[in-house]
């Protein structure tokens, strides 16, 4: 027998199909709402505030309690433990409003009834009276009204930006408003709590962060974490919206489950989900850039004001990351960047794919555009002149060591025929028609690691049963990104067995404790390494056993497809496992991983918060109708860096999806509050996520297959979830170019984001004078 037998199915770096692919398309993949409900399951429904800021002066539930099927109502007074789901220990995130409401749509009470429909109808029968207080909705108004910060701001500095700015040959200042974004996960928030004996409770929750749900439920019940089990098999989309926002729902379900001693499910309507849960932060950015006559940046100053909502939630790390990415891919010789996490009477904003990074990166691209128009250069030329060189320091004093953008951009520029197409666009616009075109190439350099260094750890658990089947568990959660598939590929390759032998199991706090959120694009980096550690522990025991049992040296033992080789003997994997079991070899292992090298000191604003950077670039071409403001993306070409891809098909899917979602953020997705503080874009009828018809007409997506992570990441791959989201900026820049053409590019269009057709039309009219 030979070692080079047919390779296993599903090893790393192959286009292995998503582990749920067949279930997804036949309606057999169970999401939380699809699980068979325990007998006697009852339902909770939230009652939301109808006041943006006010003191609660009365709560009358007489009519609610009289409705059919209603079992009771929960208010803040009914919570046995701590009324808080703040993820950062700031104690500012009540589960149910306690005396004061801070935004329109804040959960005030929950109705418990036999059916969901009964609970929902009864919730609307409650009467809550308020003594209204002044409310502030946007970040600049909040600054002017002295609302203060929800969390400590951050300033990054290197050199002396004020002096360098004064010395720069040219200077431009501006203000740029960048909108937020609703997650619009197709599966909304949901939790099912099942009471257990003593103080125990088990939950099924659509969550990116089972361990945090566990802690929050323990706090609100006043029980130790060991009494709470949280499970999630898969989510119908997360995008950051289930990193902290499901804690509240899980807590309400758990409290009701313990109080009525029945299983309790809670699932809000879409409108309530959109009204009551946090979103991507919108920002108002004041920038100043100093530069020379060649377009080289000398100095940058930026003040980034974020609408954080009424509480901190994740606004601290989100606004920090906005600063970390306010350089996008460019070296700022002297720099000062300050965050202003403003308190507002709106829902508390939270994580969303990119986590503040895209909002920072677009500031850099706005400055590039200003410089290019001031000097009459192609913005791409300005971009190239300012790219980092290895050895240069970021504003947070991390040395860039893995720069690949010059090659990546050059390849994309060629493969997309950027120069010829830009000339064609200029020629087209010179004819002066109604339809104007724009084209832009924008890069991304995205820092990978949680900036909270302690989150960069993960665990995994592998059992091999005596029949040779393998049970795989890890702390990450599956939300469509293919994490489970990639981790299974890593384990399959380690044992050299087909991926079909590996059972992917639900994420549960019972198997891997103290996990971090599946967030920051880090799921595979962390959990893949932890699973590999577990596999290697078992392999080491098996290697020693095989050497002894088959009487060869340990270096004569190797795992080969479907077999273990011992010298010149080939033993079928199942047979090795059976023999190992009989010889009392431990066939289970818990793996662990922590990211090396990273450190970050927020007080000095210096460190190495990121293990490495992921890079990419996109060229987008658009056509804009200058009579209606409508536009289409004619073509997009992307070249993206995922290191040595663990699964190119899954990775390309992430790149495609992130790009379209990023373009949606900057074009059609507009959140709009009225002056009373009501979100009026709370359903797909008013809030426009990209449709099939919004995808680029021509869409070429490629991975930079020559790239390899310079650090020792899992099989030299790189994270993929968030970085390509930033490439949506190329669409926004292309629209800006098309609009600027109506004034012959004398000045940039300076569109605020999102560039809705209304905004585009207004900009066209303003530029035409």
């Amino acid at each position: 027998m030979k070692d080079d037998a047919a390779p296993i199915a599903g090893q790393a770096h192959q286009d292995t199909i998503h582990d749920s692919a067949i279930k997804h398309v036949t309606g057999r993949a169970d999401y939380t709402d699809d699980l068979v409900e325990p007998t006697g399951t009852i339902h909770a429904y939230l009652g939301l505030s109808t006041c943006a800021h006010g003191r609660i002066t009365g709560m009358d539930f007489t009519d609610t309690l009289a409705q059919p099927g209603v079992l009771g109502v929960l208010t803040a007074d009914d919570l046995p433990g701590v009324n808080d789901v703040s993820p950062n220990g700031m104690n500012d995130d009540p589960i149910l409003a306690d005396g004061v409401v801070h935004f329109w749509g804040q959960p005030v009470f929950a109705v418990i009834a036999e059916t969901r429909d009964q609970a929902r109808r009864a919730a609307h029968k409650a009467r809550i009276d308020y003594d209204a207080l002044p409310h502030v909705l946007d970040p600049i108004a909040a600054r002017d009204a002295g609302m203060g910060y929800v969390t400590d701001p951050l300033t990054l500095r290197r050199g002396d930006a004020a002096v360098a700015m004064a010395d720069a040959p040219r200077r431009i200042t501006g203000r740029f408003a960048v909108g937020g974004q609703d997650h619009f996960y197709l599966e909304g928030q949901i939790a099912l709590a099942i009471p257990g004996e003593d103080d125990e409770v088990a939950l099924h929750v659509s969550t990116q962060h089972p361990s945090e749900v566990q802690h929050m439920v323990a706090h609100v019940l006043g029980v130790p974490s060991s009494a709470v089990v949280v499970n999630v098999r898969r989510m119908g989309g997360g995008f950051g919206g289930k990193e902290t926002q499901m804690n509240l729902f899980a807590c309400v379900a758990a409290v009701a489950a313990k109080r009525w001693h029945r299983a309790v499910k809670i699932r809000p309507d879409r409108d309530d989900d959109m009204t009551a849960t946090g979103k991507r932060h919108d920002f108002v950015i004041d920038y100043a850039v100093g530069f020379d006559d060649e377009g080289r940046i000398r100095a940058v100053e930026g003040d980034l004001y974020a609408r954080c909502g009424f509480s901190a939630d994740l606004s601290g790390p989100v606004t920090d990351r906005a600063l970390f990415h306010a350089d996008n891919a460019y070296f700022y010789p002297d720099v000062r960047l300050s965050s202003h996490p403003m308190r507002t009477n709106t829902v508390s904003n939270t994580a969303f794919r990119g986590f503040g990074g895209p909002q920072g990166a677009i500031m850099a691209e706005r400055m590039v555009e200003e410089i290019a128009y001031a000097l009459g250069l192609d913005p791409l030329e300005v971009r190239k002149r300012n790219l980092y060189q290895n050895g240069q320091l970021t504003p947070y004093h991390q040395e860039v060591q893995d720069q690949i953008l010059p090659r990546l951009i050059a390849e994309l520029e060629q493969s997309s025929y950027y120069q010829a197409r830009r000339q064609a666009v200029l020629d087209w616009n010179a004819r002066g028609g109604v339809i104007r075109k724009g084209i832009a190439l924008t890069p991304v350099k995205f820092g990978i690691s949680f900036t909270a260094t302690w989150f960069n750890q993960a665990g995994a658990l592998i059992h091999i049963y005596s029949d040779g089947s393998i049970h795989l568990n890890h702390g990450g959660t599956e939300m469509g990104q293919g994490l489970n598939t990639k981790v299974a590929q890593i384990v399959a390759e380690a044992f050299q067995c087909d991926i079909s032998r590996i059972r992917i199991t639900k994420t549960t706090t019972e198997k891997v404790p103290n996990t971090s959120a599946t967030a920051a694009s880090s799921g595979t980096d962390l959990n893949g390494m932890a699973a590999l550690d577990a596999a290697n522990q078992i392999k080491a025991r098996l290697t020693a056993f095989v050497a002894e049992n088959w009487k060869v040296a340990e270096d004569q033992v190797a795992f080969v497809p479907g077999h273990v080789r011992a010298g010149d003997q080939m033993i079928v994997f199942d047979q090795v496992i059976r023999a190992a079991y009989m010889a009392r070899i431990h066939l289970s292992a818990a793996g662990f991983y922590k990211t090396p090298k990273i450190h970050w000191d927020r007080t000095t604003g210096q460190g190495r918060p990121f293990y490495y950077f992921a890079y990419g670039a996109a060229v987008s071409e658009v056509s804009v109708d200058t009579l209606t403001g409508e536009y289409v993306i004619d073509r997009a070409d992307i070249l993206h860096d995922v290191g040595r891809s663990l699964n190119p098909a899954l990775d390309r899917g992430q790149v495609e999806g992130a790009f379209v979602q990023g373009a949606g953020w900057l074009t059609t997705e507009e959140l709009w509050w009225d002056d009373k503080g009501r979100l009026r874009t709370h359903a797909p009828s008013t809030y426009k996520v990209p449709l099939a018809s919004d995808r680029p007409r021509i869409f070429n997506v490629a991975l930079a297959d020559w790239s390899e992570a310079t650090e020792r990441t899992i099989k030299r791959s790189k994270a993929v979830g968030e970085p390509p989201f930033v490439l949506g900026i190329s669409v926004f820049e292309a629209i800006n170019m098309a609009v600027a053409s109506v004034a012959d590019y004398r000045e940039p269009a300076r569109l605020d984001a999102p560039a809705t057709p209304e905004r585009v039309l207004m900009a066209v009219e303003r530029l035409r004078g």
Binding site: A21, V25, H183, L186, R267, V660, L691, A692
Partner: protein
């Protein structure tokens, strides 16, 4: 009342004003059809009535005349419908939640129009949201399914 669902006659004891979605999910346990928005604006609850795509969240069971087909009845893991097979081949699904609705929309389109143009695909699919934005692969899968169906 009696309804034919996935080839079986089912006796139903429920309020005729109940939306079909809740009959399928809560009464019959056919959970492949999903709740997305409840206002007929996302497509996650799409099923067929006599081969026509309808949104189950806004279809009252008392109004239904015809045979209902859900994603579970379109095909199975062992015997997938050509559209489902194309979906697997093109690796369309990411989170998967909207995909049963997408597939039902695509199957209804191809039953009426075996060779749709890109614009016809966009028009037929524009009521089905996918937040993972798998749209490029959905289009590729519809093309692939059209070829499979043509080949029989």
């Amino acid at each position: 009342m009696e309804l034919r669902i996935n080839g079986l006659a089912r006796r139903i004891e429920a309020d005729p004003d109940m939306p079909l979605l809740w009959l399928l999910r809560d009464v019959l346990g056919l959970t492949g059809t999903k709740y997305g928005c409840g206002v007929a604006a996302c497509g996650a609850c799409m099923v067929h009535v006599d081969g026509q795509a309808v949104l189950a969240c806004q279809t009252l069971i008392g109004d239904i005349e015809g045979e209902i087909t859900t994603i579970e009845g379109l095909g199975t893991p062992d015997a997938p419908h050509p559209v489902q097979a194309a979906w697997i081949e093109q690796q369309v699904a990411q989170c998967g939640y909207c995909q049963s609705g997408q597939i039902m929309a695509a199957a209804a389109l191809l039953a009426q129009n075996p060779d749709p143009s890109d614009d016809e695909i966009d028009a037929a699919m524009q009521g089905n949201l996918c937040r993972c934005a798998t749209y490029p692969r959905i289009r590729a899968a519809i093309r692939s399914a059209a070829l499979r169906l043509e080949a029989g």
